[in-house]
Symmetry: C2
Subunit: 309 residues, 2 copies
């Protein structure tokens, strides 16, 4: 496990370097927004989404990381970061800190917090669209890029991440008794799982996986995303401030309806186990799953689901 953690950290560092190559230069009249974008990205993170995208791409034998994959890895992290940047705004969660550093709006002011988020979302598409320049006039490559772009857009929008965020915000303003399991599952599936799904799917799409394989990858992403989020709800109950590195029990204190408060701790644990087993079984059915990338991906998934912080 210590080895795996080391491996994950090393891969995250590699991804940081790739991200840096796609971030805007901080120059010109509008340099403030470029500084705010880069600040948001550099606040850090585990880079799980681009990491999963790359491992799936490698598992399916993809070989054009520089020209095709890297811009999409940067794009998915930009979209993830914009969502955190806007989540932290005073009208949303009003968080002044993220990962121990000032959140973007706290550092640059509220207007720039909004604009940096907008800019990251827009720049994600600008960045991913540059891959067309490298596709020449190869229709197969162009087709893959088009499908990857559509997946990126759909899973980030109202039928994905934004939809989940909208329902989450609305649920927080309701009495806990009014929030049903159906709603909680919708939030988990969209706010969290959709972006895990798209990360993994884009890796498969760009590597030339078949439609049936891409569907399996989508269902793995969904299971992993849901298990990850239920695990989060469990840890809020069972973790300590020390193991979590943040206050435990905050959902209970805030009277927030969660998977655990609605289903109970035992059912939640059982559901994580079922989701996890199904994801791993589906992964094992894919070609390439016994290779280096497939094995790492399996370990990464298990570590996300079994983590205690």
């Amino acid at each position: 496990m210590a080895d795996l953690e080391k491996q994950i950290k090393e891969k995250a560092k590699e991804i940081d370097k790739i991200l840096d190559a796609y971030l805007p230069e901080e120059k010109g009249h509008a340099s403030t927004v470029m500084c705010a974008m880069n600040y948001s990205i550099h606040v850090g993170g585990k880079r799980l989404r681009p990491m999963m995208m790359r491992e799936v791409y490698r598992m399916f034998g993809g070989r054009e990381e520089e020209d095709v994959l890297n811009p999409f890895m940067a794009a998915i992290e930009m979209i993830h970061t914009y969502s955190l940047c806007h989540d932290d705004l005073p009208a949303m969660d009003n968080d002044m800190y993220r990962r121990g550093k000032k959140s973007t709006h706290a550092e640059f002011g509220e207007a720039m917090g909004i604009l940096a988020g907008d800019a990251l979302l827009n720049y994600a598409f600008e960045t991913a669209l540059t891959t067309f320049n490298k596709a020449g006039d190869d229709p197969e490559k162009m087709y893959r890029i088009a499908v990857a772009l559509s997946t990126l857009a759909k899973k980030a929008g109202i039928y994905g991440m934004i939809g989940g965020q909208v329902v989450d915000i609305e649920s927080e303003r309701k009495e806990p008794g009014e929030v049903t399991m159906d709603t909680i599952e919708f939030i988990h599936e969209n706010k969290t799982a959709a972006m895990i799904e798209s990360s993994m799917m884009i890796g498969a799409i760009l590597a030339g996986a078949l439609p049936a394989e891409i569907d399996i990858v989508e269902s793995i992403g969904s299971d992993v995303g849901l298990a990850f989020q239920i695990r989060d709800d469990i840890l809020d109950i069972t973790g300590t401030d020390e193991t979590l590195g943040k206050p435990a029990g905050s959902d209970v204190i805030n009277g927030k309806a969660t998977y655990v408060s609605l289903a109970g701790l035992e059912k939640a644990r059982e559901d994580v186990r079922i989701l996890s087993e199904r994801a791993i079984a589906n992964l094992a059915g894919l070609g390439g799953s016994t290779g280096e990338a497939g094995v790492f991906l399996k370990d990464l998934i298990l570590s996300l689901i079994e983590r205690d912080r």
Copy 2:
């Protein structure tokens, strides 16, 4: 002129119908954000950007409006609308009304004002990306769509509209004496002209115009955007509350540095004349400019630059 106004209004109505076909259905758990998106679009507007896109497309002989052009017309209006939706937020211009109706955040709350803007930007790309489904495996069509998408993204982002908005917000918070003509021109070029440029360019790109023609269209868009914006600054001085339908002289009252306050009224008028003449001369040099779409486009441009409200 009365005839032209009638024509513009009729075309705007046609475009409203096209927009409606691409707006999301208001259903499901996240329906609030879909309602807020559609509300923002239905607050109205002159639909100038999609209108110009379509006229340029027709001028260059484009013939696939339904499959290729219409989704891009919807996308450009969604991006324009998201920018107004975020501009109106309390941390930005704090406007409670737009075109006599409540602004989106005033109607739906601040969190939903932010999310509806995010959703419109994301949905613009989702919508424009659907055109790939109609391109089959025709590399020429896919290439045009890819270039149109890149243009859409670039002109809306930090090297276009968002860049202009950032500098505008920063300038408003400076003393007027600190704002130079260079800065004002940057704001006009990016906040206003960039989206006029992309509207016209995308029409040309999708219709299959040559790169040299697309460059000319870009420079026409730039001239029209700048002239339009200088005209706005002039009207703030010379108009009355009645002709403008909004309070005249608000820039002076707010001590805002404008093109007119820095260059003087005569120079501003002269510059509008020069920009307008150059745009019309460039337009006249393009094939198709004497056809129905070309003539309407010329009249539309002149009406925008010579308007008194």
